[in-house]
């Protein structure tokens, strides 16, 4: 509940001022190339390149980055081990059939498949985090407007964005007040306190909704929501860097189609 939010990191990262489209090109391009690639080489390259960019260029704290990265990796380790054990193949290193319908085995094909999937997850995750950690939501709103998202959806999204932080700060306040009076000492009490927390926050958000309407009314709301102008122009240097990154990744995708690990 006291964790730093991804959005807060994004608002202050070193690549904040770089043009949004440039950053999106790097991130989305990375994801696309990870999906197109047939081997683990290109995804691993993308993972390393984007992670380094995040750590060095965007000056994201290493500890924070590792912490964010660990969750998907743990998930990946589990699913990849299942893939390796269940996928059959011709070159069998080890196998075991505990039940008549279940056979577990290590095969060359299975292991290759597992490594491939794992590298894709790494590449995709770092590309996604690259977008999440360098491009704050507020900049994405401008892009969404450009991409002709329906006005209603976008206005709602912006109000929701603003409200999330208000409700969250209220949540923290109530939670602290409860903890200070030992609200979460026993399991029974925790359940009770949690229910109260939900109730209190619900009422608070209801009230802040009414205030929102009042605030909009008192400033002549007429169905229009201002748009944030787009950030800095595309700079040649960053565009060139992204282009190089995408080209190298693309070449890797094309040339490493037949390379396998084992």
């Amino acid at each position: 509940m006291y964790e730093e939010l991804l959005e807060d990191i994004a608002q202050t990262n070193g690549l904040r001022e770089v043009n949004t489209y440039t950053k999106l090109a790097a991130g989305l391009g990375g994801i696309l190339l990870c999906l197109l690639s047939a081997t683990c080489v290109a995804p691993l390259f993308i993972a390393i390149a984007l992670s380094l960019a995040l750590l060095i260029l965007a000056r994201i704290d290493v500890k924070t980055y590792v912490k964010i990265f660990v969750a998907p990796v743990i998930f990946a380790v589990f699913s990849v081990s299942v893939i390796i054990l269940l996928a059959g193949g011709e070159t069998v290193f080890w196998s075991w059939q505990p039940l008549s319908w279940l056979s577990l085995s290590f095969t060359r094909e299975g292991i290759n498949e597992g490594i491939f999937v794992f590298s894709r997850i790494l590449g995709g995750t770092s590309a996604l985090l690259f977008i999440a950690l360098t491009t704050p939501m507020t900049d994405l709103f401008a892009v969404m407007r450009r991409a002709r998202f329906p006005e209603e959806v976008l206005d709602l999204a912006m109000i929701i964005y603003r409200t999330i932080f208000l409700i969250m700060s209220h949540l923290v306040l109530v939670y602290r007040a409860q903890v200070m009076r030992l609200g979460y000492r026993t399991i029974r009490e925790s359940v009770h306190s949690y229910a109260m927390l939900c109730g209190a926050v619900f009422i608070a958000s209801w009230e802040s909704g009414e205030d929102l309407v009042r605030a909009m009314e008192s400033r002549c709301y007429d169905g229009k929501f201002a748009v944030l102008g787009e950030g800095g122009p595309v700079s040649l240097r960053s565009a060139f860097t992204v282009l190089c990154f995408l080209m190298i990744s693309g070449i890797l995708v094309a040339t490493t189609r037949h390379i396998t690990f084992l």
Binding site: P136, L166, D211, A215, R219, D222, G223, L228
Partner: protein, 396 residues
């Protein structure tokens, strides 16, 4: 004083299923006035303020703007809300948009300004409150004082004539409160009528032209601050406390000292009162001088060189842009609030001082110093900093 811009005639209001919040009030506000509504919690201050821009409609009685009764159809309300800007107590409740720019642009956009006009209005408003360059910041990352300024900018961008503030200094630290009061002064200086509600008497007392004491939905007293706050009986009834300076004055009076008629509103006034009472002359030595540096006027004056040759001279900042200028030039200001008075105090001790000032405030300094000099028969020089006085040969 200007014409009557806002008037209430016997207004009453009862909240649904609640007690009567406003129980018959009549008063008026003139153009260019600074009025503070003072009263304890539950006196009806906020309810009253919400009526000024038509958010609440009184059950009976009328509110008049420019002598025309307020009408409550959609189009009229729009016009009223453009003329009467309302700044809520809690800026978090007023800021709606995900970024500072969007929030300040909210009003102008809905008033149908073109993109270009919106941009100008926002830039202008942000400059006025001293938040230039905050455009892309999300509100949840700002400090309390900054949020308050964003809320004020959002209202200023619509260019209202009357500004209504509900508890403008609540939740701010003392220095932040002083900055906001100074900003209100500056806006008033630019011709806006400012109405605030507060229970901080110490801030309202020197600031307001007129104070209206409220209690239980009724007007208890309405007068210039030293009269409104000067009656111990009324002040106690309104669950407030008398401003320290006023109390001190009353105590001195009770002890039989001959005091000037005008009651002190600032420390300068008080010092003056005491000097008169005990020594019967305001000045200790030859008075010092006050030098002004207009940050808005293009000038060849090299401020750094001037400072180098006048190192002990204290510097004050008046106006948001002047303070911005000081922080840009890495000049640390000695006074940021009540600057004129503090500089006169210095001058009375025979010391010089410099004020970095926003263009629109220059006249105010001259007026205040002149008034003081006339009343006390002293002469304090006020000069603009020009290249000639820059050459280090300033007066001793």
């Amino acid at each position: 004083m200007g014409h009557i811009i806002l008037e209430a005639r016997d207004i009453r209001y009862r909240y649904p299923r609640g007690p009567e919040a406003i129980r018959g009030m009549s008063f008026h506000v003139r153009k260019g006035e600074k009025v503070s509504l003072v009263g304890p919690n539950g006196a009806g201050k906020s309810t009253l303020l919400l009526m000024f821009n038509g958010m609440i409609r009184p059950d009976s009685g009328t509110i008049l703007i420019d002598n025309a009764p307020m009408r409550y159809d959609r189009a009229s309300l729009r016009t009223i809300r453009k003329r009467v800007g309302f700044v809520m107590q809690n800026p978090d409740r007023q800021i709606i948009s995900p970024t500072v720019f969007q929030d300040v642009a909210f009003g102008p956009t809905n008033l149908g300004f073109s993109d270009h006009e919106v941009k100008d209005a926002v830039e202008n408003a942000l400059r006025l409150v001293g938040l230039s360059g905050f455009d892309r910041r999300p509100p949840h990352q700002l400090s309390g004082g900054e949020k308050k300024r964003v809320a004020i900018a959002g209202v200023l961008a619509m260019d209202p004539d009357i500004l209504v503030f509900d508890e403008p200094t609540s939740g701010l630290d003392p220095s932040g409160s002083e900055d906001i009061m100074e900003l209100l002064d500056e806006l008033n200086q630019q011709g806006k009528t400012v109405i605030i509600s507060t229970h901080d008497i110490e801030l309202a007392y020197p600031w307001a032209d007129r104070a209206i004491l409220l209690l239980n939905g009724k007007i208890l007293q309405e007068d210039v601050p030293d009269v409104a706050f000067g009656d111990p009986e009324l002040v106690r009834k309104a669950r407030l406390s008398m401003p320290t300076l006023l109390e001190l004055y009353c105590e001195l009076e009770r002890r039989g000292f001959a005091l000037p008629e005008r009651k002190p509103r600032t420390v300068l006034d008080m010092i003056n009162v005491m000097d008169r009472a005990f020594r019967n002359k305001p000045c200790y030595t030859e008075p010092g001088s006050i030098t002004l540096f207009d940050v808005d006027a293009p000038s060849e004056v090299d401020l750094h060189a001037w400072r180098a040759s006048n190192q002990e001279v204290p510097i004050g900042g008046m106006g948001t842009r002047a303070k911005q200028y000081a922080s840009d030039m890495l000049i640390s200001l000695d006074f940021t609030y009540g600057v004129i008075d503090k500089c006169i105090l210095k001058a009375l001790l025979g010391e010089d001082s410099l004020i970095l000032i926003t263009g629109s405030m220059v006249k105010r300094v001259h007026d205040r110093v002149e008034e003081f000099c006339r009343e006390n028969r002293v002469t304090i020089q006020v000069t603009m900093l020009t290249p000639a006085s820059n050459s280090g040969e300033s007066r001793p």
